[in-house]
């Protein structure tokens, strides 16, 4: 292998001055043993050209399929077809995968968590990371013929952060104080505090750029599915079917597939596998642990799998009795046997969680001392809290991802019984659980993978954030997040994250047993599709052999 070029060949996508942190970071990676992939990722946030960064760091892009893709064909994708009236407020990743075909994002984060230009062609932050200049790609047209401009972006960002916004983006981007259009294609974001990973946050499921007249034209996306993306929505029936057809006038490289049909086959995944075995569908959205052996027996199916930071969170609302007493919460957390849950409910296909919702696979993870089970201590705490004869609690869950959720909850039930906690389970149908997930006092919620630990902490545990289901509100924690958000060096950032993780553990916010591996299955003829840890699927590179 040839010697990588020296760090002075690094350049920004827009040719602007490199951020002052860029060269020291690259030097660290080259000479001080810092993880090169993590550094590459940070450089991608700072607007550094990936080609130059990869060359300097010697990190190759993942190899693409060797044979030439074939144009045409209809792909049939098994996926829930959900409401997607307002893409910015959607709570379902499945729904976002549907509109992802038609509406696009400012940035694109690949399955390796590297941020790429998308609608935004380039960006660069100021030295203090509080002012960000974005340049949009020229020549993009909406499917209704309108040109795509800064007005569209400004409309969306203002809408996200408006006080009445129902989107989780309101808190994620709360630091944005102003969006300043510079010309038709350039704008500047002003932030109240530094956020170095801003470009990565812009690819969250709730951040598609909608047409500037979205609200004026009824604020119902499926009724008026205008987009800049490679496909257009042509048919849509909730719980039944959604059809996307290829746009010939797409601004980028047109998609390979002519058509994608999303079929809602209900929640029974064994049925989905039967449809795949019979050749009625080509791709499943997910498999659970129960169908794994069945799929392995079919050589005609591709089993796709990816480690993931998706997880189950059994969280307690801090403002609800009896969970307002930290001793009760601690008793529950101390009773839980997470190893047993991973082993029995997910057959060890995953990584143990540590009750702070940051996964070891996330680059900003900080290793804390291992969490130990202590039933005797749980009993003591319960007695101290005024429940010497035990306590009756109810955990709500919806099996939204499959039966393994209930299996996990049942293990918690048995664990808790040892400590005198009589836990009853309230099992709801999946759709019903999603109507109450952030409202029940004690509930088990599935959280999708996020590339960074801080993204999920930001969404789920910052005081007052829209998706803060545990009603956790802690100034020390918020300050720890603010601090970590401003640190560029991956190593230092992870140390700062340690504080946030520790506070979540000390406050016994949740039992977070494990990070299950992600599985899905596809027909042999599906090419160019990779299981994405985050379940964010772009279909324009997928083709059929």
């Amino acid at each position: 292998m040839s010697e990588p070029p020296p760090a002075n060949t690094l350049r920004n996508n827009d040719g602007s001055e490199l951020h002052p942190a860029v060269r020291p970071l690259a030097q660290n990676a080259l000479h001080c043993g810092a993880d090169r992939r993590s550094v590459l990722r940070v450089l991608s946030w700072l607007g550094v050209s990936l080609v130059s960064a990869r060359a300097v760091l010697g990190v190759a892009a993942r190899a693409v399929a060797s044979n030439a893709p074939r144009q045409g064909g209809t792909l049939r994708f098994v996926c829930s077809v959900q409401q997607m009236t307002d893409p910015a407020a959607t709570t379902w990743v499945e729904a976002s995968n549907l509109f992802r075909n038609s509406v696009e994002f400012l940035t694109y984060v690949d399955p390796d968590n590297i941020t790429h230009p998308y609608l935004a062609q380039s960006w660069h932050p100021s030295a203090d990371l509080k002012t960000w200049d974005f340049q949009l790609r020229a020549g993009i047209r909406w499917s209704n013929g309108d040109p795509f401009t800064v007005a569209d972006v400004a409309f969306n960002i203002k809408r996200w952060i408006a006080p009445e916004s129902k989107s989780p983006n309101r808190t994620t981007f709360a630091a944005i104080t102003a969006i300043e259009p510079l010309d038709e294609l350039r704008f500047r974001l002003h932030l109240s505090r530094p956020i170095c990973s801003l470009p990565e946050h812009l690819y969250a499921a709730t951040c598609p750029i909608l047409h500037r007249h979205f609200e004026a034209q009824g604020a119902n996306w499926p009724r008026n599915p205008v987009g800049t993306g490679p496909f257009r929505l042509t048919d849509y029936h909730v719980s039944r079917i959604a059809v996307f057809k290829r746009r010939r006038d797409y601004w980028g490289q047109p998609a390979w597939l002519d058509e994608i049909r999303y079929l809602d086959l209900g929640s029974e995944i064994a049925t989905h596998v039967a449809a795949l075995a019979a050749g009625q569908v080509d791709l499943l959205y997910r498999l659970t642990i129960s169908e794994l052996d069945l799929v392995k027996r079919f050589p005609s199916m591709q089993l796709l799998s990816e480690p993931s930071a998706q997880t189950l969170v059994m969280r307690m609302q801090q403002d609800q009795k009896p969970y307002d007493d930290v001793r009760v919460r601690k008793a529950v957390v101390l009773s839980a046997d997470r190893e047993q849950m991973l082993r029995l409910a997910y057959r060890d296909h995953g990584v143990l969680g540590e009750n702070h919702h940051v996964a070891p696979s996330q680059p900003d993870y900080f290793r804390l001392p291992p969490v130990r089970r202590d039933v005797a201590q749980a009993r003591r705490l319960l007695a101290e809290a005024g429940y010497p004869n035990g306590i009756d609690l109810t955990l709500a869950l919806g099996n939204t991802q499959g039966r393994y959720e209930q299996d996990t909850a049942q293990i918690l039930q048995q664990n808790c019984a040892e400590a005198g906690i009589r836990l009853s389970l309230q099992v709801l149908p999946p759709a019903q659980y999603w109507t109450i997930w952030d409202k029940v006092p004690f509930g088990m919620t599935y959280w999708a993978h996020r590339p960074l630990g801080i993204m999920v902490l930001e969404l789920a545990y910052r005081s007052g954030s829209v998706w803060n289901e545990s009603h956790f509100s802690n100034q020390r924690f918020d300050a720890a997040l603010d601090k970590a958000l401003g640190i560029l060096d991956p190593h230092e950032r992870s140390a700062a994250m340690g504080d946030a993780e520790r506070i979540l553990q000390e406050e016994a916010v949740m039992v977070q047993p494990y990070f299950p591996r992600k599985f899905t299955a596809a027909a042999a003829r599906v090419r160019g599709f990779r299981a994405d840890p985050q379940d964010y699927y772009r279909m324009d590179k997928v083709w059929l052999a």
Partner: protein
């Protein structure tokens, strides 16, 4: 008949809408605030007395205003019509298979009571009717989809109608109810075959085939007809298990989804449709009885003396 429907409609309405707060919770969600609920109730005329609301609802129902589904956000009637047609198709196809299969098996067994054929049919019928549909659906799928690979695994009909996709759902339904009809026909046939008029017919030199078709069958059919007519409402609304298992987009799946999502107006509409179907099949079966057994009459005064 109309009275039955009215009584059931009142019951349905009372169960689902007697408590107006419940309605508001179902429409607005479990954790909506009391203010929101009150406002919603006022806006939607829920402050009126129960009986008035019932009459209003009934009138709306008769005139085809069935409300909007809270989950699908679509008009209930437009949602329901294609689903009902799809279930009608499935039920009709199933009946076309179930009735001949059940009758033929029953007649063959009943004619020669106690023979090997009779034993075989009886055992088969008892075994198949005691296997619930969710189990036979799994067996048939494992056999024909996963192992042999002959048949499609789901029946969404997403690309239009495919007869192949009907095979497994119809197969499961047939397995479950053909045996039942066969057993009914068998016992009824066995009784009829021992009656004096059949013996007379045989002694007159008629062939067995002719006796069965011309003399025995019509009388022996009375019991199976009841069973068959009872199958119709069951096929239309009771096949939830089969429809959900094969992802068939019919009435059963819709009712299931509505129940899961506590989609109140959709549940009401589905229930009312089921009521109408049950009542109509009852009327049809009464008319069929009259045709099969002329001694039976709806006018009590004309009933011939001595008839049971």
């Amino acid at each position: 008949m109309v009275l039955t429907m009215l009584a059931v409609s009142l019951l349905v309405f009372a169960v689902l809408e007697l408590n107006v707060d419940d309605v508001a919770v179902k429409v607005l969600g479990q954790f909506s605030t009391a203010d929101q609920r009150q406002a919603w109730l006022r806006e939607n005329g829920y402050t009126a007395p129960f009986l008035f609301r019932y009459l209003h609802w009934l009138w709306a129902f008769i005139t085809g205003h069935w409300g909007t589904s809270t989950y699908y956000r679509e008009d209930v009637l437009t949602l329901l019509a294609p689903r009902l047609a799809a279930s009608g198709l499935l039920a009709g196809t199933a009946l076309l298979v179930i009735v001949p299969v059940g009758l033929v098996m029953g007649v063959i067994a009943g004619v020669r009571e106690g023979s090997v054929v009779d034993r075989l049919v009886s055992v088969f019928a008892i075994v198949t009717t005691s296997i619930p549909e969710f189990a036979s659906a799994v067996f048939l799928t494992a056999l024909f989809v996963f192992w042999l690979g002959w048949l499609p695994g789901v029946s969404t009909m997403a690309d239009g109608f495919h007869l192949r996709e009907l095979v497994l759902p119809v197969g499961v339904l047939t397995l479950y109810s053909a045996g039942y009809i066969a057993r009914m026909t068998r016992s009824s046939m066995a009784t009829v075959m021992q009656s004096p008029y059949i013996r007379t017919a045989r002694l007159k030199g008629n062939s067995l085939m002719r006796v069965i078709v011309r003399h025995a069958l019509r009388n022996a059919l009375i019991t199976p007809v009841t069973v068959i007519m009872l199958q119709i409402p069951w096929l239309l609304s009771g096949v939830i298990v089969v429809e959900v298992f094969f992802a068939y987009q019919g009435f059963g799946t819709l009712l299931y989804q509505a129940a899961l999502n506590t989609d109140i107006y959709l549940i009401e509409a589905c229930t009312m449709v089921s009521v109408v179907v049950v009542v109509l099949t009852q009327v049809a079966s009464d008319l069929l009885y009259a045709w099969l057994n002329p001694r039976m009459s709806f006018k009590a005064a004309e009933r011939p003396a001595g008839a049971k």
